[in-house]
Amino acid sequence: MSKTLQETARNLLAENKVEVIIGYAQGYDAFHTRPVFISNVEDVSKLIINEYCTNNLSVYLPIHKKLKVGIVTAKEQDLASIHELINEHQILEENVIIIEAAKQISSLSSELGEAQRDRGIDEEDGRQEAWKKRGYDMAVEEFEKLSAKERETFWDKEFERCIRCYACRQVCPVCYCPDCFVNRTMPKYLNEAVDMNKNKLFSLVRMLHVFGRCMDCRACNNACPVGIPLRLLTKKIAKDALELFGYVSGQGQEHPFSTFEKDELLEEIR
């Protein structure tokens, strides 16, 4: 698998079709990979591709938009993210060459399996039970059936751990704003103080900002150092977009917030 990828990368670099290749390299152990930027032909042997390539590399595209870039995609969602960035005019289509490795990776069947793979959790490992207990494998529909109080308690417990490191924002391909609302000083919405409510505010507003643009690539979910199940939120906004507007992100439809219909009936406004 990695050999074909390396061969493709070598050809691209040798023929001067790209200036840099963004791909995956071996991380600190067998279960982790890290992003790598390759501009010398000698270095292509560093490139690998396997089922632990979970980062969404398209996050590096907007900052390299002036270069000709070859990018390795390991998931369908990574590919969708690149197309979203092109649609949002963040990168030029002709500057990007996609090296699709997505189909080479055998996908694990269940959602839970995927989520576990993302975090490098073994099935035999006793952590699977803990995972289930904390509701991480919960479907959105299931979660919505809980009472408001139960939902609040669940999120309170989760967001209590948030250290607002903004890793979820940094790894998000569609969170490319150079001036994020949390960093603004006029008005200053967020400061550095420890405040669980502000943690919640940040995540909720981020979800609104990525509404309809999120490709559900799970990068934020994986990046979270304290393990907040952000996937539940991204799945929720994807569900809402479909239910309310019949919108599926990454399909080239017009964004639901930039258009409207005069006679539509959404939530009831008296």
């Binding site: 979660f143 919505e144 408001a148 109080k149 139960e150 939902r151 609040e152 308690t153 669940f154 999120w155 309170d156 609302f181 919405y189 409510n197 502000k198 919640k200 505010l201 909720l204 507003v205 979800m207 609104l208 509404f211 939120l233 929720k236 906004i237 809402d240 977009a241 309310l244 507007f245 639901p256 917030f257 409207f260 005069k262 539509e264 959404l266 939530e267 406004i269 008296r270």
Partner: protein, 132 residues
């Protein structure tokens, strides 16, 4: 005495704020639990402000704008209607009771209606607070 509820009302400058003015001009009595913030248009309504209100201790938030088709800026409230639907669902998902976040349309001539709207919101939020 038990602490009374606090509601933040975000009213659009052109319809609902004028409507609230009319309520006062007509000497219609309505609950004083609502604190009004004037916004240029519901299309400008930033979800951050709503979350800030909740997190700073508001029991309820009311957003009110022009009726569909009457927007001073032609289409601001149509955009708001879409964002409201998403925001409401997301807030409910995070565990904020649906009674606490409400939206209405009140025009500049509906002073009486504004009083009724505020009464209803206050009742709703009270009933939520009671069961809390």
């Amino acid at each position: 005495m038990e602490k009374d509820i606090n509601i933040i009302g975000f009213l659009c400058n052109w319809c609902s704020y004028a409507g609230a003015d009319l309520t006062g001009l007509n000497r219609i009595i309505y609950p004083t639990n609502i604190k009004i913030v004037r916004i240029p248009c519901t299309g400008r309504m930033d979800p951050v402000l709503i979350m800030e209100a909740f997190h700073n201790g508001a029991d309820g938030v009311l957003v009110s704008g022009c009726h569909p088709g009457d927007c001073h800026y032609t289409e601001g409230n149509y955009y708001w209607r879409r964002r409201h639907a998403v925001l409401k669902r997301l807030l409910e998902f995070l565990g904020i009771d649906e009674r606490r976040f409400q939206a209405t349309w009140v025009s500049a001539s509906e002073g009486k209606r504004f009083a009724e709207v505020v009464k209803k919101v206050v009742d709703d939020v009270r009933s939520w607070k009671k069961n809390e």
